[in-house]
Homo-oligomer: 257 residues x 2
């Protein structure tokens, strides 16, 4: 029962929880904030919050939950962060050891969910502006992030390509949205940021960017997953790229003038 | 030797450190980011960072220092957060117990400085736009902040009044600056937000706002000081209202389109 387009975020979360929706959340519940998810023990919270503050382009925080409470009370009252994301990745000591659709067996009283504004939030805005974008890739780059405590690693980006005119519009539209990574961090040649097109973190391998298209690269909330690997983080649970946590918040609440 | 207007932030910090400049920092080092200061033990850091995230209008973070390191390495290399603010307030168990110009005797290996973008940063922009603003008052309101961990309390605001046309310009200019509290949170009648004009936290008592002027109220980085009192915070050191920490960062780095 994979409906083409959900409009109600609570209905989409319910379908995800029940296993009725297992696909990525791109272009679903348009107008609503979607989030990357990072779940860590409270003891790692101070360092991770500093990592987010120092890398705000990649990690703009929408909500930080109460330790042990699986309900994101501010952004999605009634939701359960343990079941309402389509796919979760489990990292231990710097390696992804599991991919799950329900993390209730792993939940602990000291776990905190960090919800990071995702570029999945602005894809419907680009679509509504008539922008014909490629699909979305998630790529690792060779740009370093600013370390904090034990967290360090490379910047991950989302890549979309479009006509040059559409690229200009997309830069303007997303520049108003610092809560969802803001304007792109790069445009054009992927080699300039060391973007790894051969092995995307999400999406099929890319041979080449079409010569009549301009590629745009946005800082991405998958960055903490790369930090988990680079930093050998003892324990982190995240969303799987493409599977955002869909909140009840409206994007316009976060738009700048 | 209270020079009328410093242009170099490092020179201003040096004058403050040496006791040669003891006045407020408003309109000094124009174009540079000024910060409210909150210093807390690392153990309070996770809760305070969540308090900032939940009250981002009042507490937009510019830098969070390394525990024990008095140098804000990202925003003001070479500076010393223990000496480079004109006046510090020391809070213990919810009461201000001291006001100092040097906190080196109080420094500890576990202290962290949270630098919060201040509206002092945008006053030169309003001046450059030809806006004739009143002086700045800091006022407590009856608006609650969103609690996090042990931190809760009322919102503090800065108040400036100006002509209606200038108020419109000021709203537009500051709306582009979420790193410095963004647009005002209220306009007009101070009673609507319970702003206490009789006992300002900074500035002389206010009898009335001139009838031909529009008062604007911006969320303010003095809010954590009110939280220290309301929450009976065991230990916090802050700047004294009006005495910002002047960084080397340029305001334009933080402006939205």
């Amino acid at each position: 029962m994979q409906t083409e387009r959900f409009t109600d975020p609570a209905a989409l979360r319910r379908a995800i929880r029940q296993g009725a929706w297992t696909r990525p959340t791109r272009l679903q519940a348009p107008g609503h904030v979607q989030c990357s998810v990072v779940i860590l023990p409270r003891t790692a919270g101070f360092d991770f919050l500093r990592y987010c503050q120092r890398n705000a382009r990649a990690c703009p925080l929408i909500e930080v939950t109460e330790p042990g409470d699986p309900e994101p009370r501010m952004s999605a009252p009634g939701a359960d962060i343990r079941t309402d994301v389509g796919r979760y990745a489990v990292y231990r000591n710097g390696a992804q050891i599991d991919e799950l659709s329900d993390i209730r067996p792993l939940w602990r009283d000291d776990l905190v969910a960090f919800l990071i504004g995702s570029s999945l939030s602005f894809d419907p805005l680009l679509e509504a502006a008539g922008i014909e974008s490629s699909p979305v890739w998630v790529l690792e780059t060779r740009l370093p992030t600013v370390p904090a405590g034990g967290f360090h690693g490379p910047l991950a980006v989302t890549m979309r390509w479009m006509t040059p005119a559409d690229a200009i519009s997309a830069i303007q539209i997303t520049g108003r949205l610092p809560g969802f990574h803001g304007a792109p961090i790069h445009l054009g040649d992927p080699a300039r940021i060391g973007a790894n097109l051969a092995a995307p973190l999400h999406g099929p391998p890319v041979r080449e960017i079409p010569p009549d298209r301009t590629a745009l690269y946005w800082a991405c909330g998958v960055t903490p997953q790369r930090a988990a690997i680079a930093s050998a983080t003892p324990f982190m649970i995240t969303h799987v790229p493409g599977h955002g946590f869909v909140t009840d918040l409206r994007i316009e609440q976060f738009a700048m003038p």
